[in-house]
């Protein structure tokens, strides 16, 4: 295999450079915001006379090897004033640099917002970063700044419509996104069943979304990696910020534990109680609310060691009088230790605990259902800045999972429900990875990596089936039916029920044609061992994650992407054009009428199929001037199929390809921001998306006094197109005093009140007896006001 050979070649290069890099010195350090000491991610560190440069990593660290002598050093980061320094390098040098935000230094309007500049040189493609300031400016539904909704404005990213949870990347399902909050895996990204995302914008520093060309240090999901970095906290001064909005109020406090050494951050957000309850036409003693809490402690032990302790706790609660009480959320605790083994070898050790749990208490039926997914994650990552041409990244990762699909317990003695424990599942996912970033020539650079992943299902009680087949096919009725187990085996936890090992090669190549143009190419294979069991159009909080095992194989993705990148008018504009093609093996599908809730033998309703997607993405960005923003266009197609397991079986949808629920042929989004003066800032978003696929009835018949629809082939029709325009105006009055500053955000969501269909269902009108099509549209025109403050 050619990839293996490439891998071998790169190892040879590596040893060669070890020998030749002798007369150089290492320049390294951390770059942070002068005001808060918050480290900055992705800052450009440039040595123009050497035509060399690098960027800071996710902890604000950089390291570069350069020849001895006098050099000019430029540190530049959008939204901050550049720093110029002359160095005379005679030995290894540590330069910790503080940048000052431009808004503070310039009198005129800030011309360049925190839009990530295009990196033509780096082989990394299919990646989008959004600074939290950009996200905060976007007009938001009900004034609630939403990280997940804002990334749907990027090319290749959509969601299942309003009120749908999660997001879809390049035609992938919502469960195929790896969502990391300070390196911890988040299993459910939404509040209120999908109306809002779980991330408090005040506590977030930066987000980065990888859609393709995913480097070897990430794995475990096949569609994307959304990396969300929490702020470390201000280690200079105490400050507070917050906001009052229609949905929730926020307050975040941060300050030094020890000046310039340590900091704390604690941020809370809570919605108002009784939210949304009119929706369910109820009165009385009902509650529905969410809250979340972000905390972080950062401490610099010495120049070589930093530690971070961070936590997240979020919860949604619904209490519907006498019927049910429902609470769910994520909890994350995370300890990290940054250690510099040398000025060229950066390491981060993470110990992470994360869990998602769900509780549903049916008071009317006297039982409670608890389920959870708990994981412990150990990660050790190294970034090795070998020399000016080679950067290595390697590490290991091991995650222990416990899946508790549910304990059903009676809450009263007279309850008719017996205590029922759905079988817990245990698994360990481990991986080893290594990647090299290598500057092959001044014009070409290569990123080559590999990840060896292993997944072990531990012993538990499992059903035995005749011929190991949990699903029978009834050929005369062309019907899949659950098989009855012929026995049950109880394995000890130490037993290995199933063991999967996969090699996941990653490759990216950049060819910079000239100072303004480059071409990039990438291939990545990724393996996903966890599956979200859901047959609704968008995930719900009660959907259960299930690990691969004896009856379920891991999903395996192969993705190719090709891109053309260009900067115009010295970076005032940039253009990104990418095409991608991907295929996924072992995508699960469900037999008709599958009961997924509290199903202890989920293998009886699952069939394995495949998925594929292809598309073209265009992004044009304007980075400077009073008017900034971007336009994104995506043309794509996403399909899946589940053929019969043998030639005699029909499979699902007759084994034909059908559109996935997240297939959107055209997706256009326009995001603009206009800075009128120091006080007023105007923003507009426009979105247009092809309606999502839906299955319409093609006939009706009467049966048992019902009018029964008979449906056409799966997903062969479309909802009406989705489009809307949102506006916002941000007013920042002159500071009354030095410490306090306030800001008003006025916004109008869905300005022309388009009734976008979130779904269309068909029913028989109970009064007229006539069949009718009912459209659900969630957000019409919504004006809102939010007040934000900082002191």
């Amino acid at each position: 295999m050619s990839l293996k050979r490439l891998w071998f070649l790169s190892l040879c290069f590596l040893s060669f450079f070890y020998l030749s890099a002798q007369t150089n010195f290492v320049l390294s350090g951390y770059i942070s915001d002068a005001e808060t000491n918050e480290t900055l991610i992705g800052v450009n560190v440039i040595l123009p006379d050497l035509k060399l440069g690098t960027t800071t990593n996710e902890y604000g660290f950089y390291s570069i090897t350069i020849p001895q002598g006098e050099h000019q050093l430029i540190i530049s980061y959008l939204g901050f004033g550049s720093v110029y320094k002359n160095l005379n390098l005679k030995e290894d040098l540590t330069e910790n640099i503080k940048l000052t935000a431009t808004a503070e230094v310039l009198d005129e309007v800030v011309v360049n917002e925190n839009v990530e500049l295009l990196n033509l040189k780096s082989p990394q493609m299919s990646v989008n970063s959004l600074a939290i300031n950009t996200i905060k400016k976007m007009p938001a539904a009900l004034g609630e700044v939403d990280i997940i909704r804002s990334i749907t404005l990027l090319p290749g990213v959509t969601n299942g419509g309003e009120g749908a949870s999660g997001f879809n990347v390049r035609g992938g399902a919502a469960d195929q996104n790896l969502i990391l909050l300070d390196e911890a895996i988040i299993f459910n990204s939404s509040h209120l069943f999908g109306f809002f995302s779980v991330f408090n914008p005040d506590a977030i520093k930066d987000i980065k979304l990888y859609k393709g060309g995913i480097p070897a240090n990430y794995g475990g999901r096949v569609a994307s990696v959304l990396n969300i970095y929490q702020k470390d906290g201000n280690s200079n001064d105490f400050n507070a910020q917050g906001g009052i909005g229609l949905i929730s109020s926020r307050l975040l406090l941060e300050g030094p534990l020890k000046k310039e050494k340590g900091s704390f951050l604690i941020g809370g957000r809570s919605s108002y109680a009784h939210l949304f309850l009119p929706l369910i036409e109820s009165i009385g003693d009902n509650k529905g609310y969410f809250y979340d809490l972000n905390t972080k402690l950062s401490y610099t032990i010495n120049s070589k060691n930093n530690i971070f302790l961070s936590g997240y706790f979020g919860r949604d609660v619904f209490d519907i009088e006498q019927l049910f009480n429902n609470a769910y959320g994520n909890s994350v605790a995370n300890f990290r230790w940054n250690h510099l083994f040398s000025n060229q070898l950066f390491s981060n050790l993470s110990l992470i605990y994360s869990d998602y749990d769900y509780k549903l208490d049916f008071s009317f039926a006297d039982f409670v259902w608890n389920s959870s997914i708990v994981n412990f994650n150990l990660k050790y990552d190294f970034k090795h800045y070998l020399n000016e041409k080679i950067k290595l990244e390697y590490g290991l990762n091991s995650i222990f999972y416990k899946f508790d699909p549910g304990l059903i317990e009676p809450t009263k003695e007279e309850s008719q429900v017996q205590t029922n424990k759905l079988t817990d599942k245990y698994a360990v996912e481990s991986s080893l990875y290594a990647g090299i970033n290598y500057q092959l020539s001044p014009k070409t650079s290569l990123q080559l990596g590999g990840r060896l992943s292993n997944f072990v299902r531990r012993g538990q009680k499992i059903y035995r089936y005749a011929n190991d087949n949990p699903i029978n096919y009834n050929s005369s009725l062309k019907l899949y039916q659950s098989a009855d187990p012929i026995g049950e085996d109880d394995y000890k936890r130490s037993t290995i029920l199933k063991n999967f090992t996969n090699f996941e090669p990653r490759l990216a190549l950049a060819f910079q044609k000239n100072a303004t143009q480059s071409f990039k190419l990438s291939y990545n294979r990724m393996v996903q061992y966890l599956h979200l069991i859901s047959n609704t159009n968008s995930p719900t909080p009660i959907d259960v994650w299930t690990p691969s095992g004896s009856f379920i194989d891991p999903q395996i993705l192969d993705q190719f992407a090709l891109g053309f990148f260009k900067t115009l008018k010295s970076n005032r504009y940039n253009l990104e054009l990418e095409v991608f093609q991907k295929s996924i093996q072992n995508r699960l599908d469900y037999i008709d009428g599958a009961e997924l809730i509290a199903n202890n033998a989920i293998e009886q309703v699952l069939l394995s199929g495949e998925a594929r997607a292809k598309g073209l993405e265009l992004l044009i960005r304007k980075n400077e001037g009073k008017l900034t923003g971007w336009i994104a266009y995506t043309l794509s197609r996403s399909e899946q199929r589940t053929p019969g397991r043998t030639v005699n079986e029909v499979g699902i949808n007759n084994g034909e390809w059908y559109f996935t629920p997240y297939d959107k042929t055209h997706d256009i989004s326009l995001t603009t921001s206009y800075a009128l003066n120091k006080k007023w800032d105007f923003n507009a978003n426009f979105l247009f998306q092809t309606g999502q696929p839906i299955t319409y009835p093609e006939a009706q018949y009467r049966f048992a006094d019902f009018s029964i629809p008979n449906f056409e082939d799966r997903n062969s029709s479309r909802l009406p197109s989705y489009h809307r325009l949102d506006l916002s105006a941000i007013y920042t009055p002159n500071k009354k005093n030095k410490t306090f500053s306030g800001q008003w955000v006025f916004s109008i969501f869905n300005l022309y009140n388009r009734r976008n269909a979130a779904s269309i269902r068909f029913q028989q009108n109970t009064e007229t007896g006539q069949n009718e099509a009912i459209r659900l549209s969630i957000f019409g025109i919504i004006p809102s006001v939010t007040y934000n403050f900082k002191f």
Partner: protein, 274 residues
């Protein structure tokens, strides 16, 4: 504080006005016309009475709600001993009744055979036992601010077998017949119940409770039938699936019929609301 209240008020107004459902016009395709079979052989445990009929109709475009009877079909049922029971259509209603009552034989197979417009249809079901409804419990519980009457029909699940049933509740007071499907995963060998919850029921109302035994295939059919006809939509709607008939077209397999041929033992109890 006042601002919060105003904000909340604005929020509620906007949600109310902006986020509701409405009826829309959608153009739908119409597929080929297909035969619809609603076959029932019921033997009622308590009264020893039978209900035996086959209703044949045709599909229509989705928005044309009607039952178009399928007339002049030849309908017969064959039992496990190869006895043939011929059916006759009542006028031109599309409803067919047997000339002789089909005898009751637990555990045996009944085959329905239909000849309609030169196509032959066939399907079989096995008659399963049903557990008797042993008790009705009445309770009053609050539901969205009002009190609702809760009626529970109890049975005892036989431990040694997999049981599938559905409950049916009929009363003049109820707008529609109510159904509950049941499988014994969580209560094998114990008491279980079907539940009716209604705000309109009043003292003195008469309710007919029935429990029908189902085969596994029939359970799959009734589960989906009731799920899809009581689901309220929303973003978490499950992907719609067609109900799979147990009848097949022997002449033209791509034109399989719809509907179901069910044989059930039935437990029936009448109850007067207190």
């Amino acid at each position: 504080m006042m601002r919060n209240t105003i904000f909340l008020y604005v929020l509620f107004i906007s949600i109310f006005t902006a986020s509701c459902e409405d009826v829309v016009d959608i153009e739908l395709n119409y597929s080929n016309e297909r035969l619809v079979i609603e076959g029932q052989l019921n033997w009622i445990k308590e009264t020893k009475q039978t209900e035996q009929f086959i209703i044949l109709s045709k599909t229509t475009p989705y928005f044309e709600n009607q039952r178009i009877p399928a007339n002049n079909a030849q309908v017969e049922i064959i039992d496990q001993k190869n006895n043939i029971y011929k059916f006759e259509e009542l006028n031109e209603t599309g409803t067919y009744f047997p000339l002789d009552t089909i005898p009751y034989n637990l555990g045996s197979e009944y085959t329905l055979q239909i000849d309609f417009e030169n196509q032959k249809y066939r399907g079989s079901e096995i008659l399963n036992r049903v557990a008797q409804i042993i008790e009705i419990k009445q309770d009053s519980i609050p539901l969205f601010g009002n009190m609702a009457t809760q009626l529970e029909a109890y049975s005892l699940d036989p431990e040694d077998e997999n049981n599938f049933t559905y409950f049916e509740f009929i009363s003049d007071r109820l707008e529609n017949t109510e159904y509950n499907v049941y499988r014994d995963d969580f209560s094998n060998g114990t008491e279980y119940y079907g539940v009716l919850l209604d705000r309109d029921l009043e003292k003195g109302d008469r309710v007919r409770f029935r429990q029908y035994s189902l085969s596994k295939t029939a359970y799959q059919y009734w589960y989906l039938l009731i799920l899809q006809n009581t689901q309220q939509g929303g973003p978490f709607q499950t992907n719609p699936a067609n109900l799979n008939s147990n009848m097949v077209n022997l002449s033209k397999s791509e034109n399989n019929p719809l509907g179901y041929f069910r044989v059930s033992e039935v437990s029936e109890v009448f109850y007067e609301v207190k």
